[in-house]
Amino acid sequence: MNIVACIKQTFDTEAKIVIDNGQVSTQGVNLIINPYDEYAVEESIRLKEKNGGEVVVVSVGGDKTQEALRYCLAMGADRAVLIQDPALEQVDNLGCAVVMAKLISQMEYDLVFCGKEAVDDGAAQVPSMLAEKLDLPQANVLTALEVADGQATATREIDGGSEVLEMQLPAVFSAQKGLNDVRYPSLPGIMKAKRKELKVVSLADLELSAEDVAVKTELVATELPPVRKAGRVLSGEIDEMVAELVSLLKDEVKVI
């Protein structure tokens, strides 16, 4: 079973966001693999360990993204492809889906795995866009997946519950927290990863032009969020505080 796992390198979720010149500053920020993508990579490796085949990790990014890909190789992925091009520096989600679909369409694969969304822009667009561009069925926000005889049974989180979907492979899936517990790379895994293939391809290599990835959603401003008005800590005995709270909620802010 051949699996393509798509990852994005993102800010560490603990990183303090600083705006510099109308942009989020990358100065001194620790970069990680988007946590949902880690679940996707983990699930891909587990499927390969069970069924044989290979896991190829794919990303769109810059020089530093190689570290993220190398980490996935250390986890147990077999090879990696980085799509890197000056024309992709401001790429939007649709552009990402276009380039990854072009790359993946030239590969032999049974399924494509992404994270359900990236923690930086929180858009949750790429998996569905990729499925559309590859003309494949999709199942997003998975908390369980069974694969047998070219057929997938996927449990997907929905509002207020979950649903179980069946489909033929190939298909595109996206991972939710709870799908699995992500492993740490072992020392032998880290050593082996250094010798695994990490290929860098450009738009030209994919026979795409800058026009094919021109942004449709243009970022025009980035600001810090408005600061919440400072609140107040109530004082007194418990009964007094509770009475004051109920009166505030009922009569002043009128939310109960």
């Binding site: 979720t13 303090k16 946590p35 939007d92 989600n93 649709l94 930086d120 822009d121 929180g122 858009a123 949750a124 667009q125 998996p127 569905s128 866009m129 559309e132 561009k133 069925p137 999709q138 997003n140 926000v141 989180e157 929905i158 509002d159 207020g160 519950g161 649903e163 179980v164 979907l165 069946e166 033929q168 939710q176 927290k177 709870g178 942004v215 449709k216 959603t217 243009e218 970022l219 025009v220 401003a221 980035t222 600001e223 810090l224 969020p225 400072a230 609140g231 107040r232 800590v233 418990i238 009964d239 509770v242 009475a243 709270l245 109920v246 505030l248 909620l249 802010v253 939310v255 109960i256």
Partner: protein, 321 residues
């Protein structure tokens, strides 16, 4: 030109986000001098149109098919994309719900349309729309312009105000050819109980590590009963195995914007604030005077939640008779 809203229904019942999306669509259509058209798709859903009319669309297009009885990406994407191609609107709006998140990018990719997800505000400056979307888990706010002919956006639930308007919409049938889905829905499991869904709830009571044990959630459930609220939890409570991940509020859980959010025994880590920081009113109850939640909350109570919450439940019962 027109603005199109996809009216979300599940199992033959309209979702609150459908009304919120139409309300915002109406405001934008009026500002831009566009007409507002609503697409209602499902199996035997014509009867729902009357509820949608109240929010003032100019036209409601209804698609009925047994192929649309369950939500499936491909069938629904085909219907919405066909409707957009027919109407050639300037803007297409969906909710940022489980269905909207799944459907909007698929349709955007089919139409090569720019999509801004999870908007908390959309402005019209007399010539163009701009879309405001929180990034980095709410630690920054980005403004986007979309340069494709058809622009698409999904709206964060519980942010856009409901607003009824003149309800004389024409209801027409729309009968596109519906693509067979390559996926089938085997089972739908809805959470038991009659609590509101977290992302739609007006009030949420959440518990965290400060409860000390999973049984502590019984108390949170009682508080939620007294308020008709949904029950959420912090990541610490989920990681400890006390609660299901579906109930987690925060950066790696759900983003919620209720009118009232009551955090009990939750320290208020930045990852939790990312999920509930846009609540209209926050109450924090924690015994640790240093807890961040007491600083962030509109109203903080420093004290043992096992004493404060029962007193609060009593007081609420007293006030509500």
């Amino acid at each position: 030109m027109s603005i199109i809203v996809f009216a979300e229904q599940r199992g033959g019942a309209l979702r609150k986000i459908a009304f919120e999306t139409i309300s915002e669509g109406r405001r934008l259509a009026t500002a831009a001098g566009d007409s507002l058209k609503v697409l209602l798709a499902g199996d035997n859903v014509s009867g729902l149109a009357v509820e949608l009319k109240k929010f003032g669309p100019d036209e409601i297009a209804v698609v009925n098919s047994d192929k649309l009885a369950d939500y499936s990406t491909e069938s629904y994407a085909g219907v919405l994309a066909d409707y957009v191609k027919q109407e050639n609107p300037s803007l297409v709006l969906l909710g940022h719900s489980a269905i909207g998140k799944d459907l909007a990018p698929r349709v955007a990719a089919r139409l090569d349309a720019g999509l801004v997800s999870d908007c908390i505000k959309i402005n019209y400056d007399g010539a163009d729309f701009s879309f405001i979307h929180p990034i980095y888990a709410g630690n920054a706010v980005a403004t986007y312009k979309v340069n494709s002919v058809v622009k698409m956006a999904t709206l964060r639930p519980n942010i856009f105000a409901l607003e009824e308007a003149d309800g004389a919409a024409a209801v027409i049938d729309f009968a596109p050819e519906i693509a067979a889905s390559r996926m089938s829905v085997k089972e739908v499991i809805q959470q038991a109980g009659d609590r509101p869904e977290l992302t739609e709830a007006d009030i949420i009571c959440s518990g965290g590590r400060g409860l000390g044990n999973p049984e502590g959630f019984d108390l949170i459930e009682q508080l939620a009963d007294a308020l008709g609220a949904a029950v959420g939890s912090s990541r610490a409570a989920v990681d400890a195995g006390w609660r299901d991940h579906q109930t987690q509020v925060g950066q790696t859980g759900k983003v919620v914007s209720p009118n009232l959010y009551i955090a009990c025994g939750i320290s208020g880590a930045i990852q939790h604030l990312a999920g509930m920081g846009s609540s209209k009113c926050i109450v924090g109850i924690d015994k640790d005077p240093e807890a961040n939640i007491l600083t962030v909350a509109d109203f903080g109570i420093e004290g043992d939640l096992y004493k404060v919450v029962p007193a609060l439940i009593e007081k609420l019962k007293e006030v509500n008779g």
